[in-house]
């Protein structure tokens, strides 16, 4: 037998396995309805490929994997799809999610399926068979197996996790006792797939019957395979944690942030390899699993072969669970499972245990005391963390310090909370801290995103301004050139401006010979249109102001009413005159400010439409369609901008002409 190592910490909670380990696996009768969540695995949820009302056969693909990390879902029995809707999921927060609901017809009619001969299969065909069968890790996390089985590195050791270290759960124990042959066959398939690495099966020493059964199955196959070894490990929680089992069996630690494949290791749950054997050798997808039903409220505690999608309530009825006596309904084990508030949720691929605990069977709810840093948690922590420090940091919301103390390495096994003499729900604190860290990171990312977006926008505005400036300059140069050409054509004509300037300068020199600073020559020509506009605006504003003063004075019976009235009258005249002059000028040149306003409005609107579309592109489901829309919107905008520019150019030209003439 290979050398065994150990991992730091760990605890010894009462095993409570005997309640369910002694009875054989019972096939649960077909339930009337099956509820199949689209997300039973880690990764992207599967997508339904059947329609409501469609008849499906047992084993038929009803939801297809989406992307690399995802898993297929098959109909566990024949029947009719009665709905595809949101239902409560077996989740700690009782989330809802898309589910396919099948009303079973009782015929259990299989879709056509055949087993394959592994000797005839290439690796990719084998992998394909596993992927198609929708197999995910059955130990609890539910990671799609096909992903794990195509590691990038060379694999030297396959580790089969049969530790089943959580108290109460005996599903794997029974599976090994009753399906040892299939398990060995499954292991051989995985070995074939990974290039025949040696295989270590890690089993806790509290399962002697399972060990004997597996040894016997291996004995029978000895001629074929000698490199599968059963490693009996001491019972200690959480030796079934992937990282912990790897350390026990190989003495190596999975690097922080890394995966076992980096050490040349692949770890598979024992139930998963059995499912792989069924998928390849029988052609049966993953449509059922073994689930332990136990606890003092379960009259017929034991292990049940259950179709995926069976409502927990049906399973509890069948196992004669007295819900009136149940104080806590836990999915999973007592150390890492989560409580269900409603039994109207389905069994999913990772449901290894339903614990119906009577009152006082599990630790009662207690007020927790102050942390005295006794360090028992540190002694128990298999991740070698300082749980007490993490607790203090979380309590103080010092999440950066918590991260610095490797919060992310916490596997939430619950060993620390199990030993805490102050009964502090430590794991809950760590989950909270992890959640907060995620939120904070997302916020930082968002802020970063906003910043870069802002900077891009600023740059764009600057670029636009520069481009405009360039165009303006080009126009100015063109105009000057035109003027120069005109002058060249008519060289005798004296430049009136230059002449005027010369006169002014002469005058100045004459009047102030002693003044030092020469006054800058007035070169800017007043734009008459602009001047008129300004004059009109000024008089309008003055009129408005004075009118207001008049109204106030009238209201307060002020004595200045008369004089104000007079100035209002005068200003009204002035304003009308200014307006009339402006209008006359515009009419003379054929300018239309309303039209310009309209054009500007159109340009701004189309620009906004483009921005809006670009923004929605990030979140859009159909990116291509949105991009097409963006192209159209951009075209609209550029034509509007062109129209505006043309108009402006025209009016500028007209004005220049008038001035020149």
């Amino acid at each position: 037998m290979s050398k065994l190592w150990t991992f730091h910490g760990g605890v010894y909670p009462p095993e409570n396995k005997h309640q369910s380990s002694d009875s054989v696996i019972v096939h649960m009768p077909l339930p009337k309805q099956l509820v199949l969540p689209m997300s039973q695995h880690i990764g992207t949820p599967a997508k339904a490929i059947v329609a409501v009302g469609e008849r499906v056969l047992k084993g038929q693909l009803i939801a297809a994997a989406q992307g690399f990390i995802s898993a297929n879902i098959h109909a566990p029995s024949s029947g009719t799809v009665s709905a595809i809707e949101e239902r409560t999921l077996p989740h700690p927060s009782a989330l809802v999610g898309q589910c396919i609901i099948i009303d079973t017809d009782g015929q259990e009619q299989w879709i056509e399926h055949t087993g394959l001969d592994p000797a005839q299969l290439t690796n990719s065909e084998l992998l394909d068979a596993i992927q198609k069968a929708g197999i995910t890790g059955l130990g609890g996390a539910g990671f799609p197996s096909s992903v794990k089985l195509q590691p990038k590195a060379d694999i030297s050791t396959l580790i089969i996790n049969a530790a089943e270290c959580e108290p109460y759960i005996t599903a794997d124990d029974r599976l090994m006792r009753e399906y040892a042959q299939q398990i060995v066959a499954g292991i051989e398939l995985v070995q074939q797939l990974l290039g025949e690495p040696k295989c270590l099966i890690g089993i806790e020493d509290n399962k002697p019957a399972a060990i004997a059964s597996l040894s016997q199955a291996l004995e029978q196959r000895k001629l074929k395979h000698t490199h599968i070894e059963i490693c009996v490990i001491p019972t200690k929680y959480p030796s079934g944690g992937e990282k912990q089992l790897i350390e026990i069996l190989t003495g190596q630690q999975v690097p922080h942030g890394g995966i076992p494949a980096e050490l040349g290791l692949v770890c598979q749950n024992i139930g998963t390899v059995k499912a792989i054997a069924d998928a390849v050798l029988l052609g049966q997808p993953l449509i059922s699993r073994i689930t332990t039903v136990t606890g003092k409220a379960a009259t017929q505690a034991g292990n049940y072969q259950v179709l995926i999608g069976t409502q927990i309530s049906d399973l509890l009825d069948f196992a004669k669970v007295d819900l009136a006596k149940t104080s806590r309904l836990v999915m999973g084990g007592p150390m890492m499972g989560f409580t269900l508030l409603d039994s109207q949720v389905p069994v999913v691929k990772s449901t290894n245990c339903i614990l119906a605990a009577a009152e006082l069977e599990l630790a009662p709810v207690a007020d927790h005391h102050a942390c005295i840093r006794c360090g028992l948690c540190e002694l128990a922590c298999p991740a070698e963390l300082l749980p007490q420090q993490l607790f203090w940091f979380t309590k103080a919301e010092e999440f950066d310090k918590a991260q610095n103390h490797n919060l992310s390495d916490c596997i939430e096994c619950g060993a620390c909370a199990w030993v805490c003499p102050s009964q502090i729900p430590l794991v809950q604190y760590y989950r909270y801290a992890k959640g907060r860290v995620r939120v904070l990171q997302a916020e930082t990312q968002l802020a970063e995103h906003a910043r870069s977006r802002f900077e891009t926008r600023e740059q764009r505005l600057i670029d636009e301004k520069l481009a405009k400036e360039k165009k303006r300059k080009a126009r100015a140069t063109a105009a000057t050139a035109a003027q120069a050409a005109k002058r060249a054509a008519n060289p005798d004509a004296e430049d009136p401006i230059a002449a005027a300037l010369a006169r002014v300068n002469k005058q100045k020199q004459a009047t102030s010979l002693s003044t030092t600073a020469p006054v800058a020559p007035v070169t800017t020509e007043e734009d008459p249109y602009k001047a008129l506009k300004t004059a009109a605006a000024i008089t309008r504003t003055k009129l408005k102001k004075t009118s207001k003063a008049l109204a106030d004075a009238q209201a307060s019976q002020h004595e200045q009413v008369d004089s104000l009235q007079a100035s209002v009258d005068a200003l009204t005249l002035k304003a009308n005159k200014a307006q009339a002059e402006l209008k006359a000028y515009e009419d003379k040149l054929g300018l239309d400010p309303e039209q310009e306003k309209q054009l500007q409005l159109v340009a701004v609107k189309t620009n906004a439409a483009v921005r809006k579309l670009e923004k929605s592109l990030a979140t859009a489901a159909d990116a291509a369609a949105v991009e097409a829309e963006i192209v159209t919107a951009k075209a609209l905008h550029s034509s509007a901008a062109q129209a505006l520019e043309n108009y402006q150019n025209q009016s500028a030209a007209k004005q220049q002409e008038t001035q020149e003439s």
Binding site: A370, N406, G414
Partner: protein
């Protein structure tokens, strides 16, 4: 039945802080017995008085702080503080000395910092140090071994400071501790001192017995996994090493390692005070440094300082250093690189 909605784990080993504290209290009993055997009932009277005061102050301050009284009163932490104080102060202390010490320990050192778990300094040591500075005479009058005072006489002294008729002067039934004597040898070598003053060897003998009794209690706590071996062992080794080093160099001036380890409050401090989890360093490596630091400071203060025993100051100083030690001794977590792993 309504289903409970709780976060995992759903089970617990049902260990309690109050149970840990109870073990600590029980483990002091051998030391208490030895101390009472050699120095009379003073310690016992002080212990009861200190316990009552501690509970009363704890309840009062909890009430003022508007905290639930019962859970904190029953966690046993106030009693542990009271026990440690009563064991540390001289057996013939009057009632008010204990009162001041307990008041400071519970109200100021513990609750004004936020109560159990939040105090940076060991409360008992704060109370002790305060009294040592404020009432140096009362705090250094250690009972003499051959005083033979009856319970009534001690009782009267405790409450009313009425000296017994037979020996009206307090000097008759108190004496300096052997550590104190050895620190001021008056020009004699330690051997000459021991030969000239029988109190030295008498005192050393008594304190060896008392320290042995505390050691037994400490080992019991270790085997019950109330604390780990790191801090006490580091402290004893560091104190022993320093003492040996100086003793080997100047045997006439410096007491030997065994005299250091088995006199004064060495074992009481090593197993009951240095191990206070709240105020010591956190990680195992940190505890080693913390303990070693206490041992070193104790030796320095004992040998070159102005106080006969040094634990209160040594521990308070190391309490100050604990957060810093924590910062630099964070253990390597699973899967993290560097540092050699011990496959315990």
């Amino acid at each position: 039945m309504a289903l409970l909605n709780l976060s995992s784990p759903h089970h617990h080993n049902l260990n309690r802080t109050s149970r840990l504290m109870m073990w600590v209290l029980l483990a002091t009993l051998p030391g208490l017995a030895a101390q009472s055997y050699w120095f009379g009932f003073g310690t016992l009277i002080n212990l009861v008085w200190a316990s009552l005061l501690a509970l009363a102050f704890e309840a009062a301050i909890l009430r003022i702080r508007k905290r639930p009284i019962k859970p904190f009163l029953t966690d046993g932490s106030a009693l542990v503080t009271a026990f440690l104080l009563a064991l540390a102060i001289p057996p013939f202390s009057p009632w008010w000395l204990t009162l001041v010490a307990v008041l400071f320990a519970i109200v100021f050192a513990k609750h004004l910092y936020g109560g159990l778990g939040n105090n940076p300094f060991n409360p008992a040591m704060v109370g002790y140090a305060l009294c040592l500075i404020a009432f140096p005479v009362a705090m250094t009058q250690w009972a003499s071994i051959d005083q033979n005072l009856s319970f009534t006489q001690q009782w009267q002294w405790f409450w009313f400071e009425i000296a017994p008729n037979s020996s009206p002067s307090i000097d008759a039934w108190t004496q300096a501790t052997p550590l104190d004597l050895m620190r001021h040898p008056k020009g004699l070598t330690l051997t000459e001192l021991a030969a000239s003053n029988p109190q030295v060897n008498q005192g050393l003998n008594a304190s060896a017995w008392i320290n042995a009794a505390y050691l037994i209690g400490g080992i019991a706590l270790l085997s019950l996994r109330v604390f780990t071996w790191h801090a006490p062992v580091a402290m004893l080794i560091s104190l022993g090493l320093c003492a040996s080093l100086f003793h080997l160099g100047e045997p006439d001036l410096y007491p030997s390692a065994s005299q250091h380890l088995l006199s004064g409050a060495t074992m009481l401090a090593a197993f009951f005070i240095v191990t206070d989890p709240v105020t010591s360093a956190t990680s195992r490596k940190g505890k080693l440094i913390f303990g070693a630091g206490v041992g070193l400071l104790v030796f320095i203060i004992r040998s070159f300082g102005a106080y006969p025993d040094a634990f209160a100051f040594a521990i308070l100083l190391m309490n100050l250093a604990a957060p810093l030690i924590d910062t630099y001794t964070q253990p390597k977590a699973y899967g993290h690189p560097n540092q050699k792993r011990d496959n315990n």
